[in-house]
């Protein structure tokens, strides 16, 4: 089988599944689940075949022209290289386990046909982003992924919360796409092409064409899709969707698409742009970590955690690329940014999906209770879930050596240390905070004693839910070691990630250890196990208030939409009705009417008047005949 066909099947299988679900299986849940799961399995099997047997690791590209208008040519094609192979692996692997999880989790849902159709459309769109070989094609699938997200967040469509959240997600993403598309068009007209390989060549020969503006506009897309500040507001609200969606789309894959895009287009970023990218990431990471402390809903905590980790990835890209530019002796130095961010993306995909699925297991068992202060004591009722969740917490905290998160965070902290001291301190502090709030979550929800009836009656979830947890837990712990990955992927993971050497090596270990372990211990001390109330809320209200305020972004946006945008729209509509419809149109009708009224007055109905008019006409005619008007009329 040639690679082109295999990739086409990988891409189109979920689309075919979605189509079949739409035609045949809207009401037949079992068929829908089978089709969707089957597509996911096909994707995973074919991808694994690619990595272990069918692909030799060399870059592969195939493309065909899809649209030509004048000088604009849009191609559709696949580009399979180290980077896209890694992303393909993540999407296929994590995606499959989440499909399996959904089968168990959604078993009492009434609209499973719609759900699994949406899930398959999402896989299609995401794979399109992964395999795209040019910017236009990527943009197309970028929008499609946004659509899938809209559809799936709004799954519980009879709730107001879901309706508003899905709208918000789509619109905020569109704002990001606004900048993104401008950037793509500028890139197109500057270089004459949007194909990644061709762009790289042209940039290689004419690096002066790359401008900071171009890179920043392209970064706007990342702001939207990967929820960086200030376009981060949609992600916490997106938790209104079902938990498997939060896991797949809003943790592991879709939000990571922005980081993936940075990797794909890294050569289009100037140094100034990279500085800005790095700092946006750092600020997002720190702020989101601060905000996670005031959350009670288990999914919201994980959402802010995701925001923070995405900030890490973006910062990693920026700082790593800067590091590579300045210390570019190793031959892979150019790729340090990509390496650091993609490594963290990979490990994050595993442990964040695990954490979300674990929370799903908990929510499912506690009959849709999501407040952590009403849980507690779950370690006795749901041992496997607790164990796997603990693995996830250890991974995200970055405990040395036993956590995949340690290795990836390590790389990012290392490049931060080398590139920018302030960033380094902030990121290390954030690592501490991460361990702290994740520990808070774990200790309150899982340890201690049950705090409510639903927690009392919790029991372990069925195998369709637990098996994915176990698999992901294994990868969360072991994901830092290269042997977990197929050989063909080890290039990116192994050689592109900047590794500290010598004294730096030990320094980093010590720092990570301190941050993670102290964080976890502090969490246990401050919050206690199985608490029913938030101690910080009681003892340090100002600190809690700052955290809960989330810096008022949502309020500012809400104010803007309601007071500014809607009012402006109403004013414009009023002016339009007043001036154009009123003055111009009705006005001209009034003028015509006025002329009519004036002309009517000539019809007096009295014969004498008509005779006088006749006389007047006669006089005029006589004057004309007598040459009176000769000077005036030529």
């Amino acid at each position: 089988m040639d690679l082109g066909t295999v990739l086409s099947v990988i891409l189109l299988a979920p689309l075919v599944a979605a189509g079949l679900i739409w035609i045949l299986a809207r009401q037949r849940a079992a068929l829908a689940m089978t089709l969707s799961l089957g597509a996911a399995a096909t994707i995973l099997c074919l991808s694994l075949w690619l990595f272990f047997a069918g692909w030799d690791g060399s870059a592969f590209e195939i493309s065909t022209e899809w649209l030509t208008l004048g000088s604009l040519t849009l191609d559709v094609g696949f580009l399979l290289n180290d980077l896209s192979a890694l992303m393909l692996f993540i999407v296929a692997f994590v995606g499959f386990w989440i499909h399996l999880f959904s089968v168990g989790y959604m078993n009492d849902d009434k609209a499973r046909g719609r759900f699994f159709g949406g899930l398959s459309i999402f896989m299609f769109s995401m794979l399109g982003i992964v395999l795209a070989n040019n910017l236009f094609m990527m943009f197309i699938f970028w929008e499609l992924v946004g659509f899938s997200s809209y559809m799936l967040i709004g799954h519980y469509l009879d709730t107001d919360e879901a309706a508003q959240a899905s709208k918000k997600a789509f619109i905020v993403n569109r704002v990001g796409d606004f900048g993104f598309l401008i950037g793509i068009i500028i890139t197109y007209w500057t270089f004459g092409t949007v194909n990644f390989n061709e762009l790289r060549e042209v940039v290689g020969t004419q690096p002066q064409l790359v401008t900071t503006l171009m890179g920043l506009l392209l970064f706007c897309g990342v702001l939207g899709k990967s929820a960086q500040m200030p376009l981060h507001v949609w992600l916490p609200d997106a938790m209104a969707g079902p938990t498997p969606i939060s896991a797949l789309i809003h943790a592991a894959t879709m939000v990571a698409a922005g980081v993936y895009f940075l990797g794909r287009s890294f050569f289009l970023f100037t140094e100034e742009a990279l500085h800005i990218v790095a700092w946006v990431g750092v600020v997002t990471a720190v702020s989101a970590a601060l905000w996670a402390f005031a959350q009670r809903d288990i999914k919201k905590i994980l959402a802010y955690s995701t925001l923070s980790q995405l900030g890490y990835m973006v910062a990693g890209f920026g700082l790593g690329s800067l590091y590579g530019l300045h210390h570019g002796d190793a031959h892979n130095a150019l790729y340090y940014g990509i390496g650091a961010s993609m490594f963290h993306l990979t490990t994050h995909a595993f442990f964040k999906a695990l954490l979300f699925l674990g929370s799903g297991s908990v929510i499912h068992a506690c009959h849709h209770e999501q407040d952590i202060f009403k849980m507690g004591g779950l370690w006795k009722k749901m041992p496997l879930t607790t164990l796997t969740f603990a693995a996830g917490v250890i991974a995200i905290a970055g405990v040395p050596f036993i956590a995949a998160g340690f290795f990836s965070k390590d790389a990012i902290l290392y490049v931060a240390m080398k590139s920018s001291q302030p960033a380094f301190y902030l990121l290390t502090g954030t690592a501490l905070l991460t361990a702290l709030y994740m520990g808070r979550l774990f200790f309150i929800a899982f340890l201690g004693k049950p705090n409510s009836a639903s927690a009392e009656h919790a029991h372990e979830s069925p195998w369709t839910i637990v098996l994915p947890l176990l698999v992901l837990a294994v990868f969360s712990i072991g994901g830092g070691y290269m042997i977990m990955y197929p050989v063909t992927l080890q290039e990116v993971m192994g050689h592109w990630v900047p590794h500290p050497h010598g004294k730096d090596h030990t320094t980093m270990i010590i720092i990570s250890a301190v941050a993670s372990i102290i964080g976890l211990v502090l969490a246990r001390i401050i919050y206690g196990a199985g608490a029913a109330t938030d101690k910080v809320e009681k003892t340090l209200p100002p600190v809690f208030a700052i955290s809960r305020s989330r810096f008022y972004f949502d309020e500012i946006y809400g104010y803007y939409v309601k007071k500014v945008q809607d009012r402006l729209a109403d004013v414009v509509a009023f002016l339009d009705t007043l001036f154009i419809s009123g003055v111009l149109v009705r006005g001209s009708a009034a003028v015509a009417g006025l002329l009519g009224v004036t002309a009517r007055r000539l019809h007096t109905g009295s014969v004498s008047t008509y005779v006088w008019w006749f006389f007047a006409g006669l006089v005029l005619f006589g004057a004309y005949a007598g040459g009176f008007f000769d000077g005036i009329i030529q």
Partner: protein
């Protein structure tokens, strides 16, 4: 690979059937004529025949819409496969005696520029006709007669090479709109009907003046597009002529500030009339600009370009905000359709092959999607009893299929990839950056945010949330679903394989504008003019 498959399929059928005998060109030209004649004959038959059963009326009506639709698809297949280099096909002309001295004949034919509009007219006509047939209105016979007359006129507009008949068929198709608004419209119909009649006739008068003046000044012997294109008008008059045509056509296309008739007309009109007018007839103006004004008056176009830029931005941004403030579904859709004309005008403003070609594609897709939206909005109104957002809500669970179709239609209209509208809009954006004023790209892209806001707000208000208000009847019926699916599937097919439409358009634009339009090439320097 996968692009060639549908083209090969269509081409194969076309080849097979066009290669059989050399009589085929005649047959196709005859079909072109039939597409106009059949609806008119059916209308006449319905008008003059005595008592007919409801069933017979419906069957005749269905025939009257089906035939031109199928003919348009057939001719499209033949054109795409047999005429890969653009140019005019299926020509036929008929002498009409005394009009000959003015150079007027009944001259029909299609070229790559007309083809997308022609297909759209056939498809929307079929959808509107089928929807009308099952809609259960009073005096169905008169309703169908008027719609059939509209359909005949529409097929004539886009297949007419002779300019006077182009205009004549447009008036032919326009008059029934006024009557339908007056008789079957929603509340306020009398006033709206009068306003629309006067406004559009005013626009048509200016257009006629411009067309005749163009004919006289171009010095062509015949009043048709082919002859006139050979003779480009000399410089001093180009500005005035282009201005006349721009304003005249602009009124008909609801260019800002001549747009206020459109939202009220579409909101008040019965759905099939709104579908045919907003979807197809409105495109008459832009089609006329592309076929006549731009190729013959390049200097005039350049003179008017700065003004056109601001007017088009007015359409896009000002009417975009007006749309956002609407609280009635049909008024919102009417305003949205005015907003989208802004994109098309911007594509023309960009004045390059990309710009004009993308504008045509966008208009094709817009015709289908706005017709679909008006159809579904009418279904929503029938179910919910009102089209006011404040009183509608939560229909999603009660009518899931309707929700799915409406959401798909709305997403198509706001330019989601996977539907045909995306290609047109993308092309226009790309073209704008290469125009004289690249900054207009930033302003026009705000349009995608505006359209997402009002589109999703509409979907959420009508379908999401708690169930509110009354709900008569069930989910969308198969009879209503069929025309909707026809349009949606067409949008989807072109969304996936845009080449089907874009290749003929591309070739024709290159041909028609060979000296006038710069084909801008992307390079590392400033855009340069090239062949």
């Amino acid at each position: 690979m996968t692009t060639q498959l549908p083209i090969a399929l269509l081409g194969g059928i076309g080849e097979f059937l066009t290669s059989a005998g050399h009589n085929q060109p005649v047959l196709n030209a005859l079909l072109l004529m039939l597409a106009i004649v059949v609806p008119l004959v059916v209308a006449l038959a319905l008008a003059i025949s005595g008592a007919l059963s409801e069933r017979a009326v419906k069957v005749c009506g269905a025939l009257g819409f089906l035939v031109p639709g199928l003919i348009s698809l057939w001719l499209a297949a033949v054109y795409i496969s047999a005429f890969p280099f653009g140019g005019y096909a299926f020509e036929m002309s008929a002498d009409l005696g005394l009009l000959e001295r003015f150079g007027i004949q009944l001259h029909l034919g299609l070229n790559g520029l007309a083809l997308p509009f022609y297909i759209m007219a056939g498809l929307v006509g079929m959808a509107a006709g089928f929807y009308a047939i099952q809609s259960g209105v009073e005096r169905l016979r008169l309703y169908l007669i008027l719609l059939l007359v509209m359909q005949g006129g529409l097929m004539g507009v886009f297949s007419s090479i002779d300019v006077l008949f182009f205009y004549f068929f447009h008036e032919f198709a326009l008059i029934p709109t006024f009557i339908m608004i007056a008789l079957w419209g929603r509340k306020g119909r009398k006033a709206v009907a009068i306003e629309v009649t006067i406004y559009l006739t005013f626009g048509a008068m200016i257009t006629l003046a411009g067309l005749i003046a163009l004919y006289l000044f171009s010095g062509a012997e015949q009043f048709n597009m082919i002859a006139m294109r050979e003779a480009i008008v000399e410089a001093p008059y180009q500005g005035t002529l282009f201005g006349l045509l721009l304003i005249g056509f602009g009124v008909l296309v609801s260019l800002f500030p001549f747009h206020t008739w459109a939202p009220r007309a579409y909101a008040t009109a019965p759905a099939p009339a709104a579908m045919l007018h907003a979807g197809v007839l409105k495109k008459f103006g832009l089609y006329g600009l592309i076929q006549l004004a731009y190729p013959l008056l390049p200097q005039g176009a350049a003179d008017w370009a700065p003004l056109l830029l601001w007017l088009a931005l007015g359409n896009l941004l000002i009417i975009g905000f007006v749309t956002m403030s609407q609280r009635d579904l049909k008024l919102m859709l009417g305003n949205a359709s005015v907003m989208h004309m802004g994109y098309a005008f911007l594509g023309l403003y960009a004045y390059s092959t990309v710009g004009i070609g993308a504008a045509i594609m966008m208009l094709f897709a817009h015709g289908l999607s706005v017709a679909l939206l008006f159809l579904l909005a009418d279904v929503v109104e029938k179910r919910g009893g009102t089209s006011d957002f404040k009183e509608l809500g939560g229909m999603g669970l009660r009518a899931p299929v309707l929700m799915g179709l409406f959401t798909a239609a709305m997403l198509a209209s706001i330019g989601l990839p996977g539907f045909a509208n995306f290609w047109g809009e993308l092309g226009i954006f790309v073209a704008l950056f290469a125009s004289d004023t690249p900054w207009v790209l930033y302003l026009s892209l705000i349009g995608i945010i505006i359209s997402a806001v009002y589109g999703l707000r509409a979907v959420a208000s009508v379908f999401f949330g708690e169930a509110k208000g009354e709900f008569k009847g069930g989910d969308i019926t198969p009879a209503e679903k069929a025309p909707a699916l026809l349009l949606l599937i067409s949008l989807f097919v072109i969304g996936l394989w845009p080449k089907v439409v874009s290749d003929p358009v591309n070739e024709s634009v290159n041909r028609s504008f060979k000296d006038a339009v710069p084909t801008v090439t992307a390079s590392t320097d400033e855009p340069t003019l090239s062949e």
